[in-house]
């Protein structure tokens, strides 16, 4: 490996690690008023969410976000899909949680989240609306939770793939980065063939397009498995578990964005199978 690239990579990795440490502290502070006792120095997410972070896809560069941070010290994120429509048990929105985490991790950056999620919307409808919202809101990044509604509504996976691919291409052409958030988790969907197919389709398209996809389903599946083996519990019942799951999601999103800023020259890592 060329020594200059190696040095650059090392510098970026150190920077990313430092930012992750900041994010970790931010995540812990945002999650709980108590000291961040459940956080680990090796991770950017809280201890309860750590097992799931292995299911996250590889880091991909977010060049437009990097430019926004370098030139304006401002980051504007347009949130689409179901996740932005969540409210925490303490009343704050998940978008607000991500905003807080990013502002702590990316010191001195003014982060604005604009939530334009419409619950129940299929990817094809969201894609049309997203173009309008990109024109109106001029974001640097789109955070798009997609796939669950299409899977539940039996949208053919090839049709879904085409929609996602076209939309990512459109966003790239318009210099807007994208972070995808995959399908929501429920144990009952582990055996649902179409749900699995849509999940895999999203992962495949994201890999082909080299964009970040946070594999929320897989992350929650692993967390649940760890928890069942007596690992760190999230919350007791399913509703609260889902709430805590979204708390982890907020951390994964913040982590992915933060790493994406520094991932410009990072070598591509194979996606977790």
């Amino acid at each position: 490996m060329d020594s200059r690239i190696a040095t650059t990579l090392t510098a970026r990795c150190i920077a990313a690690a430092l930012v992750s440490l900041g994010l970790m502290a931010g995540a812990a502070r945002a999650q709980s008023p108590s000291p961040p006792a459940d956080s680990a120095p090796a991770s950017s997410v809280s201890k309860a969410c750590q097992p799931g972070s292995v299911a996250l896809a590889e880091e991909s560069a977010l060049p437009n976000v990097a430019v926004a941070l370098a030139t304006r010290k401002k980051l504007r994120i347009l949130a689409f899909g179901a996740a932005p429509g969540r409210v925490t048990a303490r009343g704050g929105g998940y978008t607000a949680l991500i905003e807080q985490m990013l502002e702590r991790a990316l010191k001195g950056t003014d982060v604005t989240m604009v939530n334009r999620g419409v619950s129940g919307e299929l990817a094809a409808s969201a894609a049309v609306r997203m173009k309008t919202q990109v024109a109106l809101e001029e974001p640097d990044l789109v955070l798009w939770q997609v796939g669950t509604n299409d899977a539940l509504a039996s949208v053919p996976s090839d049709e879904f793939a085409l929609t996602i691919k076209d939309q990512i291409d459109w966003l790239k052409r318009h210099k807007v980065d994208v972070v995808l958030v995959g399908l929501q988790f429920a144990n009952q969907m582990l055996r649902d063939a179409h749900y699995i197919e849509v999940r895999e389709t999203l992962r495949r398209v994201a890999a082909q397009e080299n964009v970040i996809v946070i594999r929320f389903f897989e992350a929650m599946q692993i967390i649940n498995r760890v928890e069942a083996r007596g690992g760190p519990a999230i919350e007791p019942d399913e509703v609260e578990q889902s709430d805590a799951g979204y708390n982890c999601l907020a951390q994964y999103v913040a982590r992915a964005i933060t790493l994406g800023v520094f991932a410009k020259n990072m070598p591509k890592r194979p996606a977790v199978q």
Partner: protein, 375 residues
């Protein structure tokens, strides 16, 4: 006794069935509704006809301005009660299905997550209409429009010529400054922005007046307007069918004047909708003539009767239709959407909607005179 089928009731019935189908995402038959060949859809038609109906109600019998305003406020209250009722039923349906199928995913569907997850502020939001379930967002728009309607009625009575210019002026301000109503506790904005959609209600209201103002002018020039509208309707169909949407990032500021957006019912959408109305304003007359044809006429006549019956009982049918759309989504989720399931869902849904209207009219059928037109 119920009133005879008329164009307003017929088209409102058409809009209700279309909304029912459009609110079942992924449904096979959803690819054959108005929205697949038109920029505007059944929601635009529904609101426009609501304005039209207010005119018929206001002029159907001599009503003082005060009585008219009170009547409109009472209607707003009735719509609000309906929205609260169907929202609670929808939440119960999602919760019941989640329990029955042991699948918590359903608790997160259609913006319901915060209802179960964070019920304290969300219940305030539900009551205040600032938290709306997915596909249960038309009635909140309608409630706010009905709260605005007394003002429109008052202006119409004291300075009729000012109503449309004032409404259009406010619409322009809303587009320029992107004024919206916020949602809470989930941060966002209303999917249907009443501040912009008021213009459609007012357009329906003024166009329904056939002896003065814009309504009279349009009727005098309807041939020319219809001729100009035909290419707009055709172009709109091509835009939708061939995905010829202009890139919204390429348009100048203020962007909302040049892009297609449902939330703000932007001018392109509005103009295309009015063109559709102009072109199809004659359609009911021809459809009714078709009812006189041998053989096929009986079917057409029955359909006219059913559509008009749905339209006459629009609130009941809309409420039941909204719940049926959700039921259909649940059925499709559980059994998987195939053409067979979709056909059964649509047929059964329309039958239940018709049955709802029939039951709602059962009292009126025994009365000697027709009831006045309702908004």
């Amino acid at each position: 006794m119920t009133r005879q089928p008329n164009a307003v009731d017929f088209w409102r019935g058409f809009a209700l069935i279309t909304i029912f189908i459009d609110h079942i995402p992924g449904l096979f038959y959803a690819r054959y509704t108005l929205v697949n060949v038109s920029i505007a859809d059944a929601a635009d038609l529904f609101v426009f006809l609501a304005g039209w109906s207010i005119r018929l109600m206001a002029e159907g019998r001599a009503m003082s301005t005060r009585d008219l305003m009170l009547r409109l406020l009472a209607r707003a209250l009735e719509l609000y009660a309906a929205q609260v009722l169907i929202t609670m039923l929808a939440i119960a349906m999602l919760a019941g299905t989640a329990i029955k199928l042991s699948n918590p995913l359903l608790l997160e569907w259609h913006n319901a997550a915060s209802v179960f997850n964070d019920p304290v502020p969300t219940h305030i939001g539900l009551a205040a209409l600032t938290h709306q379930l997915g596909y249960f967002d038309i009635l909140p728009l309608y409630v706010v429009l009905m709260l605005m309607a007394p003002l429109f009625a008052l202006i119409d009575r004291v300075a009729a010529n000012w109503l449309l210019p004032l409404s259009l002026g406010f619409y322009v301000i809303v587009l320029v400054f992107r004024l919206q109503l916020p949602t809470w506790p989930v941060e966002g904005t209303w999917f249907f922005n009443p501040l912009a959609w008021q213009v459609l209600l007012v357009l329906g209201f003024v166009m329904a007046k056939d002896n003065a103002g814009p309504g009279l002018w349009v009727r005098r020039h309807i041939v020319a307007i219809r001729t100009a509208a035909i290419p707009i309707v055709i172009l709109g169909a091509f835009v939708v069918l061939l995905d010829w949407w202009p890139d919204p990032t390429d348009v100048p500021n203020p962007k909302l004047f040049f892009i297609v957006d449902k939330t703000f019912v932007t001018p392109i959408r509005l103009i295309q909708f009015l063109a559709v109305v102009a072109v199809f304003s004659l359609a009911f007359r021809y459809i009714r003539r078709a009812a006189e044809w041998p053989y096929l006429g009986a079917v057409v006549g029955s359909l006219i009767g059913m559509f008009a019956m749905l339209g006459r009982n629009s609130l009941y049918v809309f409420c039941v239709g909204s719940l049926l759309s959700l039921s259909a989504q649940i059925v499709r989720f559980d059994l998987r959407g195939t053409v067979g399931i979709d056909t059964a869902v649509v047929v059964l849904g329309i039958v239940i909607m018709a049955l709802t209207a029939w039951i709602a009219e059962s009292r009126q059928r025994s009365r000697p005179a027709a009831s006045p037109q309702r908004s």
